[in-house]
């Protein structure tokens, strides 16, 4: 059940670099979304990316998982330079993500949505599926077990069979996290996973994120506007502003960085 991503990373020790981006520049027509950005993610950390609206955070994630192709700069994954790849190939390398504007499959149930997360782990072919009994069913059941674990973990048992379109916003975000987790990724990209949640739910969500990090050693890139959350749960923080990197370091360092305060935080956050 190992995917290629996992095998690539298996020889990476905690503390070593999983992914780094170097001198990334990206623009759309006249809009410069990212200018010369470099930073890295080391194995097992929670790396927050913060910055004002339109700073280029989401675009950064899109570069990492191959949806945007930067005009300049390189992405190194597990120490190797990554060639131009399609997003689905990158997914198979063990990078999963959630989206800022929820991107669940609206017509499917929670269970099916999370099952799609297992896609990179499933191998049976059409013919086997056509006749179901045998390998196809076997594989479905095995993966179902994993998914049920995730469902238990995220405490969404009761909505297992509900079409996700009917769920409230916050639960949808949770299901989306479940879908990303189901891929058992090496690197998990979270784009504002806690937007639209109240404190209690944010606490739960933080808990899930930390648990994933601790239990599976997953590396996490997190975009979030709630400074309380960011400062509490991240190990290191990158700050973007107008497509440029203006700060990088531990939460404490960033918090006291004047450029960051001016551009984003406004007042020094306690």
């Amino acid at each position: 059940m190992k995917n290629h991503g996992t095998s690539l990373v298996s020889n990476i020790e905690p503390g070593q670099e999983v992914l780094s981006v170097q001198n990334i520049s990206l623009s759309f027509g006249g809009v410069k979304a990212l200018t010369d950005i470099s930073f890295d993610l080391v194995k097992g950390e929670v790396r927050a990316i913060i910055g004002p609206n339109g700073a280029g955070k989401s675009s950064m994630l899109n570069v990492i998982n191959g949806f945007y192709h930067p005009q300049e700069g390189e992405v190194f994954y597990c120490g190797q330079k990554r060639n131009a790849m399609k997003p689905h190939q990158i997914a198979h390398q063990g990078i999963a993500r959630t989206f800022q504007n929820i991107a669940l499959f609206k017509g499917m149930s929670t269970l099916d949505n999370i099952m799609t997360g297992r896609f990179t782990h499933m191998k049976t072919n059409v013919l086997q599926h056509a006749f179901w009994r045998g390998p196809a069913e076997q594989e479905e059941i095995e993966n179902r077990l994993k998914v049920e674990e995730i469902i238990d973990f995220l405490e969404i048992q009761t909505i297992r069979k509900t079409p996700v379109g009917r769920l409230p916003y916050g639960l949808q975000k949770r299901v989306e996290l479940g879908r990303a987790l189901a891929a058992e990724p090496v690197l998990l990209l979270l784009d504002e996973p806690m937007a639209g949640m109240n404190i209690e739910e944010k606490e739960d969500m933080s808990r899930f994120i930390l648990d994933v990090q601790e239990e599976f050693g997953t590396t996490i890139a997190l975009i979030e506007h709630d400074m309380g959350v960011v400062m509490d749960i991240s190990d290191r923080v990158v700050v973007l502003d107008y497509g440029k990197k203006i700060g990088d370091g531990t939460p404490d360092e960033v918090r006291n960085n004047q450029a960051v305060i001016d551009a984003y935080l406004g007042v020094p956050h306690e």
Partner: protein, 358 residues
């Protein structure tokens, strides 16, 4: 009121993966099969077979196929007629060049040929989406029909360009040709239908089906999750075309017996099949059947009522039929945009909750 699901007690995931989760459903289904195989053949007459049951079964296969492509994978296609023509002509060519091959395999092979053709026409779907794709599939529709009409090889150089199905038998029973008996043709079709429906169900309940639905619901997200859009869409095109091809082959060989491509497999047929799945329910196996049944039966019914029952002139009856069918389509969409199958599901949900309203 006896429609009850006694809690969600499933002791294994295998049970949870079953097609019919409820016992009642399962029994109803078995009963239906028994009736279809053991009762209907004995009471069927030519009229019922030719006017209702055969077209229903055969078009249901096409509807299944289109539903896989459109309902599950989200790629709207208006080329169904053209692909059915591929199935029909493949069937004709195989029948005439390999007279000894069992008709069953001829039909399956025709499906396979169509799958290949569908694959080719599926390639643009990687770039073209939505209604743009729908309209673009008309290219297939018109081109294929033109091709079968233009190239004499396809109709074995016959003077008129029509193809007629020669007699082929299975287990000594004539399946095609003028001597085929209604019950035999019916049994042949229903066997294939049940087989294909079962396969469709299998394909859509697991990994493959989910990858289709993922592409349908949000292709970008699907790709980021690891679904290869090209492969997935092409697979959907191929599988769907297989079904449609089989349906075309049966339509020609078992049902009509003789076919002129432009007239039978024209764009009207493409639309008819599309109606079936939308009225029945996109992304629903059951819906394909309900839709096909509805659109085959209603016109026949209306006609019988108005012309034979009320004695109206045939043309006025036909016009009124148009008005009614059009009105019904709109009416159903207003009542339940997700099709008759969804209506049925909601009704069941209500029954499950009975007697509490919510």
């Amino acid at each position: 009121m006896f429609y009850r699901q006694a809690g969600d007690f499933k002791s294994s995931y295998r049970e949870d993966l079953q097609t019919f989760a409820l016992k009642q459903d399962r029994w109803a289904y078995y009963a239906l099969l028994v009736v279809a195989f053991l009762v209907v053949p004995f009471i069927i007459n030519d009229y019922w077979a030719s006017a209702v049951l055969l077209p229903f079964l055969i078009l249901a296969i096409a509807a299944l196929g289109l539903n896989i492509l459109t309902g599950y994978c989200g790629q709207v296609s208006l080329g169904t007629g053209g692909f059915m023509a591929v199935g029909a002509y493949a069937c004709y060519k195989i029948m005439t060049s390999a007279p000894d091959l069992s008709i069953f395999f001829v039909v399956l092979l025709s499906g396979a040929v169509t799958a290949l053709v569908g694959l080719i026409f599926g390639i643009p779907s990687l770039r073209i989406k939505g209604f743009y794709l729908a309209v673009a599939t008309l290219a297939a529709q018109f081109f294929l029909v033109w091709l079968f009409n233009k190239v004499p090889w396809f109709y074995n150089y016959s003077a008129s360009g029509q193809i007629s199905a020669p007699e082929r038998t299975m287990f000594g029973w004539a399946i095609t040709g003028p001597n085929a008996e209604a019950p035999v043709r019916y049994l042949f079709c229903i066997t294939i239908v049940v087989l294909l429906a079962w396969i469709a169900r299998n394909l859509t309940r697991g990994r493959i089906g989910r990858s289709w639905m993922a592409i349908r619901d949000m292709d970008i997200a699907a790709e980021i999750i690891g679904v290869d859009p090209l492969k997935t869409k092409l697979l959907a095109f191929a599988v769907s075309s297989f079904y449609i091809g089989v349906s075309g082959a049966l339509f020609f060989s078992v049902y009509l017996g003789a076919v002129e491509v432009g007239e039978v497999f024209g764009i009207t047929l493409s639309f008819l099949i599309l109606f079936m799945i939308i009225i029945g329910g996109l992304g629903s196996i059951l819906g394909s059947f309900i839709g096909a049944g509805f659109l085959v039966l209603v016109p026949v019914l209306l006609k019988n009522v108005m012309v034979n029952g009320l004695g109206w002139p045939t043309d006025i009856a036909a016009h009124i039929e148009f008005v009614i069918v059009g009105g019904l389509i709109m009416g159903f969409l207003i009542v339940e945009p997700h099709g008759l199958a969804q209506l049925w599901r909601l009704a069941k949900e209500k029954l499950l909750l009975w007697p509490f309203p919510h």
